[in-house]
Amino acid sequence: MTTAKTELLVATLANLLEPLDPGTVAVGNVSPIPAAAALLWQARAPGRSVSVLGSRRHNAFTDGGRELFDCAAQGRIDAFFLGGGQIDGEANVNLVATDRHRFPGSFGSAYLYFLVPNVILFRAEHSRRVLVPRVDFVSAPGVTPPDVYRTGGPIALVTGRCVFRFDRERRRFRLASVHEGETPASVREHTGFDYDEPADVPVTAAVSEDDLHLLRNRVVDEVAETYPRFAEAWR
């Protein structure tokens, strides 16, 4: 991925966090771009709490691996990021397997998707291979019948091509913006599920000068503690 694309994705995810002010954002395993986004969001204003799994410096937990999950069940975590080997149009995520490919596993998704109010789905690869009509395995469902206890769920899906917002009532994504160089038609071509599309789809906001300064002088160094390989490629 180019540096410019990395920075655009990081800033776009951070923009989705911006309504949380103050707030607490947690980042899970193998999530370098979401970790950078949470740290950028934190760098923009005081009073914002971030917990990056695997980090010592950017992690306030002291009670072991369970603490994040206990916090989430109590409503103490405002936002979290999830990826997916497959993601479908109802925001179901598959982190386990297709009939041809084994993924690493569900991580905390089968729990946190239910309990964190603002879950942002992120997957850089935007292809029909990833964005499918129906996932082969539901690690965590996007929506839930009314009799199931659920205080959280998906609010958006960010890919290498665009931003979708998720409407829980309609159980559908809506195309919110396309990244520079993409069009609504190119997004449609590479998306395996159906979604709503307004008549006018804006281009995803470019990275601001202030954000670029924070990213290059602060965030890249902060994220290097947990994701040295990612930070090296970014620099």
């Binding site: 395993n29 193998v30 370098p32 799994l53 695997g54 010592r56 937990f61 002291t62 009670d63 072991g64 691996g65 369970r66 603490e67 999950f69 069940a73 982190l95 386990v96 084994r102 690493p104 596993g105 569900s106 991580f107 905390g108 998704s109 089968a110 729990y111 946190l112 998707y113 239910f114 309990l115 395995f137 539901v138 690690s139 965590a140 469902p141 839930t144 019948p145 009799d147 199931v148 206890y149 994701y227 040295p228 390989r229 990612f230």
Partner: protein, 284 residues
């Protein structure tokens, strides 16, 4: 190659063990044991992992608390693991854990797919000595179809509410690496409290440490708060750099070049065997 310094540790139920090497430490693991291991960022005993492979100790059942990387991949690649419970297995930034994926493809490994908090809750039930704990989430996940041992019941305190139960996990062995122990067998883990939960829930706890200190870790209130008491500890062996090539929080970073070498070599079974053959048992 560094020599392994024997230390004295107090064994579970008061039995004293003197002069424990890493090889002697892993001799406490028996075929068929359920072995609990921590995630890559917490304190993985790679020294004991290499010793288990050298000893050819099989079959082992592994439970990752709640994920694993190079450790599980190596133990699986060496053919030691019959069953693995984990929320995920991958090599962090280096991606796919190839020995793990290939073993599943060859039906050589029984996978018990989980989610992180279910493993934590299972161990918490284990340490409490209760048969299960209830857990939110999960309803509507296909994991419930893979895990018939996770049962759904009506919440007895609130009509109309359903909740999932996860059974207690009682590992035979908790195995990890920590910065230090004292001569009584108290182990300092700091904020890595999942290691404490693992040990509480397990019948035996085997620990490799960077160093053994002379003063009791329980004498100082500051260090005592981060201690796993010797009460739970079966044996401790000194293994400097014992998490290598993974890191040890607050002590040293992962060895990125070595992790890259492993990820590349382990893409094939032959490459993996060659890697294991040329890797020293004890860290540099």
């Amino acid at each position: 190659m560094l020599s392994i310094t024997p230390v004295i540790a107090r064994a579970y139920r008061g039995r004293m063990l003197a002069g424990v090497t890493v090889g002697e430490l892993v001799a406490h693991v028996e075929p068929g044991d359920l072995v609990a291991v921590p995630p890559d960022y917490s304190g993985v005993s790679m020294a004991a992992t290499r010793a288990l492979i050298a000893a050819g100790l099989r079959p082992l059942r592994l439970v990752a608390v709640p994920t694993s990387g190079m450790q599980a991949d190596m133990l699986v690649g060496a053919g030691l693991v019959s069953e693995l419970e984990a929320a995920a297995v991958m090599l962090g930034e280096f991606g796919t854990a190839s020995r793990f994926v290939d073993a599943l493809g060859a039906d050589a490994l029984r996978m018990r797919d989980a989610t992180c908090p279910a493993i934590h809750a299972g161990l918490q039930a284990g340490e409490k000595g209760v048969p299960f704990l209830p857990l939110r989430g999960l309803l509507g996940s296909d994991l419930l179809a893979l895990r018939p041992d996770w049962q759904t019941i009506p919440n007895p305190y609130e009509p109309g509410d359903r909740i999932v139960l996860v059974p207690a996990i009682r590992p035979d062995v908790a195995l990890f690496h920590a910065p230090r122990a004292d001569r009584d067998g108290n182990v300092w883990v700091g904020r890595r409290r999942e290691l404490v939960t693992m040990a509480h829930a397990s019948r035996r706890t085997l620990v490799t440490v960077e160093e053994v200190v002379d003063d009791s870790l329980l004498d100082d209130e500051v260090s005592a708060a981060g201690v796993l008491p010797a009460l739970y500890v079966t044996a401790v062996a000194t293994a400097p750099n014992g998490a290598w090539p993974l890191g040890l929080p607050g002590v040293y970073q992962p060895d990125q070049a070595e992790l890259a070498r492993y990820a590349e070599a382990s893409r094939t079974a032959d490459g993996f065997r060659e890697y294991v053959g040329r890797t020293p048992l004890h860290a540099r």
